[in-house]
Amino acid sequence: MTMNQSVTSSENAGKRKGQFSDVWKRLSENRAAMAGLFFLIFLIFMAVFADVFFDYQKACVDLNIAERLQWPSRAHWFGTDEFGRDMFARVVFGSRISLSIGFIAVAFGLLIGGILGALSGYFGGALDNIIMRICDIFLAVPMMLMAIVIVAALGTSIVNLVIALAIACVPIFARIVRSAVLSVRDSEYVEAARAVGGRTGHIIFRYILPNCIGPIIVQTTLRIAATISNIAALSFIGLGVSAPTPEWGALLAGGRSFIRDSSYLATIPGIVIMLTILALNLLGDGLRDALDPRLR
């Protein structure tokens, strides 16, 4: 028995490894997706090592009125803001906030949504009904409004922002995981696992979740894109991160007052946000095609 099990699981592992290398191969052939991936890696690299390149104190706190509102030049690639601070450094420090909030909020959303969806799909019945009806209620409010309400009620802080954006993701992930679970729950290999006496938790994590990984990865990528956009939007209307913390949406909002004469202040952070979301979308699309080659 034990031997048999170890044989099947190692076979499974081999198969899964093969699948992943296939997916990677297809993904690496997709130039747009790879461009997106490299841009993201570059962005994350800059965010992580921002302190090596720039001085946070100088970029975000100190004032340097002598150099205020300078258009992009060799000294200041993205120009300077109304207090003479280098915009390039501010954008780089801003990427820390946007990316980390984006990733953390979606991770929480995925964790909670994934668990709810898995329970809902696996057990069905009344539990499924309750969870799905609650999801319906959350989904009935447009995502952006939901985030606005939560931040408005809890007050503006980074933690509340993460909570608001994570909650906005939960029902979406719950639905995806639920339908993925439903599609494999009654398949023969899960029946087989149940027949040999596998525990429920074991079955869910060992057999069911790995099989829903495709749509989850794709949706996670796209959700991070949407969440980064929403962070910027919330900051822009004054409900997200506020000055002096350099968040992309806040930078854009700050540049708004100077749009007539110093339009680069609003243009550049917007382009950075757009490129980031574009990169995530390209990667997400590429992943979807790579994970499900039938679609192409």
Binding site: R133, F138, M144, L145, L239, A266, G270
Partner: protein, 308 residues
Amino acid sequence: MARYIIKRILYLIPVLIGVTLLVFFIMHLAPGNAAQIILGENATPDQIAALEKEMGLDQPVIVQYLRYLGGLLHGNLGNSYATGTSVTTEIMARFPYTVRLTFVAAVFSIILALPLGIIAAVRQNTWVDSASMVFSLIGVSMPIFWLALMLILVFSLKLGWFPVYGADSWKSIILPAVSLGFMNMASIARTTRSSMVETIRQDYIRTAYSKGLNEREVIMKHAFPNGMLPTITVIGLEIGQMLGGSVLTETVFAWPGVGRLLIQSINGRDTPTVMGCIILMTISFALVNLIVDLLYGVFDPRVRTMYR
């Protein structure tokens, strides 16, 4: 069909009650005391207590909620903390602006998106396809508020064709509607393309060609009505997105709609108005999706007979 409609409407009621409950309790989490906000910093504790009693704020949350729900059924959303006037009146004065903006944006996005998506699908893997899909991909990646600022920069400040803000002439609606509808246009175009690509591969499309129809007839009479079905659903969802997005557009363009009122009330800690705005938008979203579902029944005979 009638049964289908009734079923959909009946299903909507618990969802809407759930939404009011949800929003009510989230707003209840808000720190600060309503009576304090209304009376200002200098109010005495006695005054505050008296007002709380008058407003029913001393009662349990669930009682407050039921009273609110009762008022809602009669169209009464309470009074604004900021102005003291009826929230219903205030919102209803603003609502037509949001409807107008969303409607123009939706029409703009659908009119552009459908041909874009269909052409891309029919000319799959040609430069036309690539170009329109790159265009849509950039569209879905562009933050609404940034696009709004860029439109202002180019078309108002540099070219002077449209006003920077306000809602005074027909010209005023162009930039807000374009910035609001652009992202949705891109997303509808992408859905249209992928569902049309899927449809074009179906056997009945081959049957249509084998009857001797030309490409235009096959696409318009056979592929489009089928490929439309997923797009209809997405259009409904996109209109919900637009209601959310209108908060941003209205803020940038100082458009006097519900979205701007919402932000003003949040900043003024005017809870009844915030709730009113959210509930109105949610109901609108739900109604749009209801209409979309009904349209689905009109376009897809399989749905129609299912509920006969």
